[in-house]
Point group: C2
């Protein structure tokens, strides 16, 4: 088997795509500091497409639009338009009409049908898109498209992110490049996150959808910043086929593994750049009766404000971890619980060991921490990536709109 390149946290051009990110004045319309705020990716020809979306029942207009278009038209997507500043969520019929209109302007500028355009929006909920600026922004964006525009695009999809997030992998002449934005509202099932992933592989829409869904389950669905699930979460994968290399059923596992690696890299970047994050925590739940139970316990620990603030304070307050596990709604026996911080065991069979407290607090103060909780019940496990809860999180979210 040919050697697989490692995931790089960078971008590389993908054959068949041009992309750009520009300042369309969307942010300044809402009184924010100017910054790139409109991203456009255009394929030279029709792409197969796959999408995974928020499971929130309050869905933004672009999510509703994209779900319909991918269901009908997964063999012929040509462009994705991404705006920040307004999430176009909770905006009623006018919001849906605005999403449709944005796709029409994009289709005219690109030279395709509106049905071949997808829309992603992120920003404040409940405010309408500034449509004049969307129209002029689309016109301007089309003129700056370039095969090398990925870094500009990664910057233009940021909101409270402090740095762009990108990942790239190459295998046997195929390229996969992804960009993502995250920051807040990051829950175990997707997040306030958008991600666009492009490949030049030749792959059928059903196979691409299967690979993307599996990758999301192992990546974006395993991260927690604050436990809030957004109205807008969307990951879209497009395959241009421009490499001429086909992914058959036999090649599937290798391709899916690469796609998952890109998604895991992007997901971890989202947590590391979460709002106010000072610590990156890997939570490994082992010894569970079921994989779902392991994940549910991990998610409950990862969303616990008491656990998160203890890590912020560099306090090895492990009782809060066990207390969170106990309320996860999963059957467990407290006399079987064992807990490690890195390789330091703190608890065995539900009883605290006489461990080195100084060392435990030193681990809790590290920028990256591995926590392992053994439920002692079975052989299933799950890994969740999460972070602490800091003063800055409260600052950012107490004043996000102002």
């Amino acid at each position: 088997m040919p050697k697989l390149e490692r995931v790089r946290q960078t971008t590389r051009p993908v054959k068949g795509f041009r992309i750009t990110g520009i300042d369309a004045g969307l942010r300044t319309f809402f009184g924010k500091q100017p910054a790139p705020d409109l991203t456009l990716i255009v394929a030279n020809g029709p792409c197969t497409a796959a999408g995974v979306f928020t499971t929130n029942l309050v869905k933004a207009a672009p999510v509703i639009l994209d779900q319909e278009r991918i269901a009908k038209n997964a063999n012929s997507i040509r462009a994705i338009l991404v705006n920040t500043a307004s999430a176009n969520a909770c905006t009623g019929d006018e919001g849906l009409a605005n999403a449709v209109q944005s796709s029409k302007w994009t289709a005219e500028a690109v030279g395709c049908s509106p049905d071949e355009v997808l829309i992603m929006s992120t920003g404040v909920i409940g405010v309408h898109l500034p449509m004049e600026r969307m129209q002029s922004g689309i016109s301007a964006a089309v003129n700056t498209l370039s095969a090398d525009g990925w870094n500009d695009a990664a910057k233009a999809i940021m909101t409270t992110d402090t740095r762009p997030k990108s990942a790239n992998i190459e295998l046997d002449g195929i390229t996969i490049t992804g960009i993502a934005k995250g920051a807040g509202m990051i829950a175990p099932n997707m997040a306030t996150m958008l991600s666009v992933i492009a490949t030049d592989a030749v792959i059928s829409a059903p196979l691409l959808q299967r690979a993307l869904a599996e990758a999301a389950e192992r990546s974006f669905n395993c991260i927690v910043v604050d436990g809030d699930m957004s109205t807008n979460d969307t990951v879209i994968a497009l395959a241009s086929g421009a490499s001429g290399i086909e992914i058959t059923e036999e090649e599937y596992e290798r391709f899916a593994g690469c796609l998952a690696a890109v998604c895991i890299s992007l997901a971890q970047s989202i947590v590391k750049d979460g709002e106010g994050v000072t610590k990156f925590i890997t939570l490994q739940i082992v010894g569970a009766e079921t994989p779902q139970g392991a994940k549910q316990i991990g998610n409950t620990i990862a969303t616990s404000p008491l656990v998160k603030t203890a890590f912020y304070g560099g306090d090895a307050n492990w009782g809060r971890i066990l207390a969170a596990a106990g309320r996860a709604g999963v059957s467990l026996d407290q006399s079987k619980l064992s807990l490690w911080f890195d390789d330091l065991q703190l608890v065995a069979s539900g009883t605290p060991l006489n461990y080195d407290q100084g060392r435990a607090n030193a681990i809790a103060a590290q920028p990256e921490i591995n926590i392992r909780l053994d439920l002692g019940q079975g052989s299933n496990e799950a890994t969740i990536w999460t972070c602490d809860l800091s003063h800055d999180y409260v600052d950012i979210n107490g004043h996000y709109r102002t």
Copy 2:
């Protein structure tokens, strides 16, 4: 029907009980500032007893002990000992033995059987009770028991609470007095809360249990500070019978209403004094298909860090409320949602109204806020009392143990 007195946020003696709260050196043992930390309530004769307990599967030793004793011995409870500083949770067999030993010392000092003693503990998880100080503290406490000791007791059960919490009601010659502690780890299903409620009514143990369970469902189970559920949550009601006035099935509703009023007052006091709280929020979810669905949506909104930080910042960021509702796991139709801040309607049928934003932000900045979300689906409702998430919460919980 005789006139009912209103609930007072104060204490009054209850016939048949003596109580005290003293500094037994438990806090200083763990390096904390000295403060009253041991509470003892003793009845002159056997009481009927009822209890509601945390549903966390990681249960503290005293919870396990009390559940057994109330199950076996609900017609003959004589005393409750409450300590702070150590939760005696995640302490294994030694923790359970320490709880039993504490009850033996109490029984000897009071002159009853250990089976007639209940124990409550609150504080840090995973550390053992300082048993020498428990023993000397019990001896000292017995000598300071008094019918008027309720205020001292309300102070001695405090941990990060900033003020004591008490409630009293009188009806037809019967007194009900309760004290509680709260502060953090306050979840929709109980909290890091302890409460002792005493009455001089004559009431059977099953009827008292029914009244307490109903009252808890309408009070302690409707509050959210941070969504964390404790290992130690316990509410115990004792009835001395010393008034000589019997609560029959006919009198039940009136008595249960009074007990619920005491519990609601204590529960609201817990939220208002939650860790770092600057705002008290009443969330009313109406128009739900089921009462459980209404409560689940209310709890999800109340635990959302994004909703809580927005209120801390005085920002009427209502989209976060709808987004939290949409991820509650309850069926809803976003096009039917309507939302009010006090009497200002912001959203009608899922669409934002052209409301006065200055007024909405002014409401969000009030110390007490009423939020009403109409799901437009049915006729059931729920009310949840909650609070904001502030810098001080992060401070307190980042450094609780240090």
